[in-house]
């Protein structure tokens, strides 16, 4: 949160300076705002409205009925399960990675930073394929896994792994600049006052980074629930077993069940909207705290 927080402060400061209106005329200002709003309307709001419109096309009854389908319910359950596993793991990993990068100097630090960014840079399909290559039948561990009767690919563990891979930068990326900016002083103060490691972490460090952490969790959660590409490769599309919500939407759509597809889509969209609202609240809250 350091980046946005800082630039917001900076913008506020610039805005308060005298002479800020002298360069930009009213016309330019209006043109800029209109352009960005039109762009938003065409590309973001229109599709969003279409989703809900199509879902509710044939009335509320059919809309709600589509959620009674057992496969749909299974898909929702699977998505929530995956998110429930992936997000906490990412929190632990993110804090550990951010802590080691922000507070220590060690060999291979820049390599670690690069590696954390890798999942963002790599196409999600490739992320999925990595796991197929590792754990699939023809993969490195395929034979061994088969002998021990463990299934990873085309099963829930594969989906969890792929999702984890795709989402793990978010928490760490949020926390690294924040921790670097906040420094070590409060922790050191706590130690000189006699606090141990755990007490320092839970009473000093965690409260200090809580808003940044929450922001990272929200982003990570949104990606975990919405991920399509990586999950699609490893899931095998077994209806009711290994389809998450995005995959299930696709299946329904392929079957020309538009209402069903858009109903699930609307649910996913709602989740996203809720996430965005929470995110905005957090941003507002951190901006306020940063004063």
């Amino acid at each position: 949160m350091a980046g946005p927080g800082n630039s917001q402060e900076l913008l506020a400061e610039i805005a308060s300076r005298p002479g800020r209106d002298t360069v930009v005329s009213f016309v330019v200002k209006a043109a800029f705002i209109t352009t960005s709003l039109l762009f938003l309307a065409a590309l973001l709001f229109a599709p969003l409205i279409t989703v809900f419109a199509t879902a509710l096309e044939k009335g509320f009854e059919i809309y709600f009925n589509s959620f009674k389908d057992s496969d749909t319910l299974a898909a929702i359950r699977l998505t929530l399960t995956v998110a429930a596993i992936v997000v906490p793991v990412n929190v632990v990993f993110g804090i550990a990675a951010a802590w080691s990068i922000a507070k220590f100097e060690f060999k291979g630090k820049s390599f670690l930073i690069t590696m954390i960014d890798l999942p963002i840079a790599v196409s999600p399909v490739i992320s999925g394929l990595i796991y197929v290559l590792l754990f699939g039948m023809q993969g490195w561990f395929g034979l061994w896994l088969q002998e021990h009767d463990i299934s990873i690919i085309f099963a829930v563990p594969g989906i969890v792994l792929a999702t984890m891979f795709v989402t793990f930068p978010y928490v760490a990326r949020e926390l690294i600049p924040l921790m670097q900016q906040l420094g070590n002083d409060e922790e050191e103060a706590a130690i000189t006052l006699g606090a141990g490691g755990l007490m320092t972490f839970f009473h000093v460090t965690l409260p200090k980074i809580r808003w940044g952490l929450l922001y990272g969790v929200i982003l990570s959660n949104a990606r975990a629930m919405g991920e399509f590409g990586a999950v699609s490769v490893v899931s095998g599309h077994v209806r009711g077993v290994t389809t998450t919500m995005p995959l299930h939407i696709e299946i329904l759509y392929q079957e020309y069940n538009f209402v069903g597809a858009f109903a699930v889509a609307s649910l996913l969209t709602l989740l996203a909207v809720v996430t965005l609202i929470i995110k905005t609240l957090v941003e507002w809250r951190t901006g306020y705290k940063r004063k």
């Binding site: 409060e186 103060a189 000189t192």
Partner: protein
């Protein structure tokens, strides 16, 4: 003793940031560590608190060795420059943190919190968040928080750094008051000398990782032992002078100042004199001076600052070439002899001066620094070589740090090393390392140089300085030179004692160890120099050479008391042009004896 540091060293990427610091702070004492940024003072403070580990040495609190005790269990109070308050906790929660860690009962915590808030004059602020307080108030909370668990030692790291002048003064008073009331041993780190004077019972001045001097503020101001302390604590004009049996002489002008302190040692030699700006008197003519005349000058700058008037006077006669203050150029062309003078309102009324006016300059008090290294004189047979050597980076660095000048001396006799020099050589003679270096060193020492520095062209500031003397007669002067040099070089000092192998080897060990310990304690007691010691067996020259070649960036300080020792004992050191720099210290045995006797 409340805090005892014994040879504390902290290295960062190989070079020492805290270099062999030994220090004792008494019970209830307010000690201020003063130094420029990067002098290692904050690192030292953190080492006392346990926030930074030490690479060498011991830290003891109240007689208990805590070198390997974690910061958590040392029980010190620490105040950070940027407050480091827990931003999500209220003032009250911040103060109670240390008590909550210790599981104190709620009522007792309340009680203690109230006491502390009263102590720092913040009653009723319990429920505020740190962000709702001003900087000064936040630092008060930080002080209260650091005192909550009744620590026996309070450490403050530039606590006023982020505050503006007015609040700074107010908080300074609060801290002094709190310290007096609790009688708590306190160490404060600052780069502000005014702050140090206002707070300290005792000041320790640090530079380049070394604790240069410590003492009462007035003592340090009146009688500094080093150039750095003289110029860092208040303003000072540094002038080169000749110490003679009659007194001090600036150029051709003898000064008979009543309050000149006597320096031991009979022979005439170059010294560094400190003239405080407020000790300088200006008068229309020499006869009007009520103090000792030193020169005439022209007023170059005049600034009115309220209580005082600051004047810069350019000396036109007298010791104009003796000035070695920081504003003189090292190349020697512009020895702009500018003296800083401050005068009170009263003095201004008695003798008002205007810009450009000619004045006679007198001095009330001169303090002579007890340093044997006064200035550098680059010696070479021809101009080009001297010019090249005077641009040597290490020499420029050294002279810059010592705030002294590099003079050039062209002496064709140096090529042949025959005959005598026209005038005696003063200051440290500097020559380039080359094949004939042994002869040159001998010639220079014969012609009055007391120290000769041999600089290889690629020499850099050393990381380790080896110290060795040929016999006991040279010990005292070698230690003095080593101490003076090492104050300006961020290097470790190692005394190498060498015993001949043939005479029983191991059987000699107790005697050898004894010599080492004597040397170390003398260095510490007389010169304030902390050094390591090493005992070796074998031929001195080979042993030294072997050590010097072990790693790069080393320097040798070699003391002799007889010129023949050079060729007799240390010839191998000069056989080939070396990669390390050397400083040869020579005091004739007779003179050393006299010095020892008078001491």
């Amino acid at each position: 003793m409340s805090i005892t540091l014994d040879q504390v060293t902290k290295r960062y990427q190989g070079s020492p940031v805290v270099n062999d610091v030994s220090l004792e702070v008494g019970e209830g004492e307010f000690f201020v560590l003063l130094g420029p940024s990067g002098s290692g003072k904050s690192t030292l403070l953190r080492a006392i608190a346990g926030l930074t580990g030490v690479d060498h040495g011991r830290v003891a609190l109240h007689g208990n060795d805590v070198t390997h005790v974690s910061a958590r269990h040392r029980g010190v109070g620490f105040v950070f420059q940027n407050y480091a308050l827990f931003r999500h906790m209220t003032v009250g929660e911040n103060i109670e943190f240390a008590l909550r860690v210790r599981r104190m009962r709620t009522e007792d915590r309340r009680q203690r919190r109230k006491e502390l808030l009263r102590l720092v004059a913040l009653e009723g602020m319990d429920d505020r968040l740190p962000t709702q307080l001003s900087g000064g108030q936040q630092q008060r909370v930080a002080v209260a928080r650091a005192l909550a668990h009744k620590p026996e030692v309070l450490l403050l790291d530039e606590p006023f750094g982020a505050l503006d002048a007015k609040i700074r003064e107010e908080l300074r008073r609060t801290i002094r008051q709190v310290q007096r009331e609790l009688k708590i041993t306190t160490v404060l780190v600052t780069h502000d000398q005014e702050e140090a004077f206002a707070l300290a019972d005792r000041i320790g001045v640090m530079n380049l990782g070394r604790l240069l001097e410590s003492g009462r503020p007035d003592e340090l101001y009146d009688r500094p032992a080093t150039r750095f302390v003289a110029t860092f604590l208040g303003a000072a004009n540094l002038l080169l002078a000749k110490q003679t049996e009659q007194g001090i002489r600036f150029g051709a002008t003898p000064v008979n100042a009543r309050r000149i302190e006597k320096l031991e040692g009979g022979r005439e030699h170059e010294v560094v004199a400190v003239l405080r700006p407020e000790e300088i008197e200006l008068a229309p003519t020499r006869d009007n001076l009520r103090t000792n005349y030193i020169a005439t000058g022209v007023v170059e700058e005049l600034v009115f600052t309220g209580a005082l008037e600051r004047i810069r006077v350019r000396m036109t006669s007298g010791p104009s070439d003796a000035h070695i203050g920081s504003n003189s150029h090292v190349d020697g062309h512009n020895t702009a002899a500018i003296l800083d003078v401050t005068r009170t309102q009263h003095e201004q009324r008695v003798f008002p001066v205007v810009f450009g006016q000619s004045v006679a300059i007198g001095v009330r008090r001169i303090h002579v620094l007890p340093t044997p290294l006064s200035s550098y004189t680059v010696c070479a047979a021809e101009t080009a070589a001297a010019e090249r050597l005077s641009q040597h980076p290490f020499l420029i660095e050294l002279a810059g740090r010592m705030k002294t000048r590099i003079a050039k001396r062209i002496d064709p006799a140096l090529a042949t090393c025959q005959g005598n020099a026209q005038t005696r050589i003063s200051g440290v003679a500097v020559i380039a390392a080359q094949v004939k270096v042994a002869k040159q060193v001998e010639w220079l020492l014969w012609n009055g140089a007391a120290e000769v520095m041999v600089l290889p062209s690629q020499a850099v500031s050393p990381q380790r300085v080896l110290i060795h003397w040929a016999d006991d007669a040279a010990r005292r002067s070698t230690l003095a030179v080593a101490a003076s040099l090492l104050r300006h070089v961020p290097a470790e000092a190692v005394y190498v004692g060498i015993l001949p192998e043939s005479r029983g080897g191991e059987g000699q060990r107790p005697l050898g160890v004894r010599t080492l310990l004597d040397a170390r304690s003398e260095a510490q007691a007389v010169h304030g120099l902390e050094m390591r010691t090493e005992l070796r067996f074998g031929a001195a020259a080979e042993e030294l050479q072997r050590q010097l070649n072990e790693q790069v960036d080393q320097m040798l300080i070699l003391g002799i008391s007889d010129l023949s020792q050079l060729s007799r004992e240390f010839a191998p050191l000069f056989a080939a042009p070396a990669a390390y720099s050397m400083m040869i210290v020579y005091r004739p045995a007779r003179e050393s004896d006299e010095q020892a006797a008078s001491a």
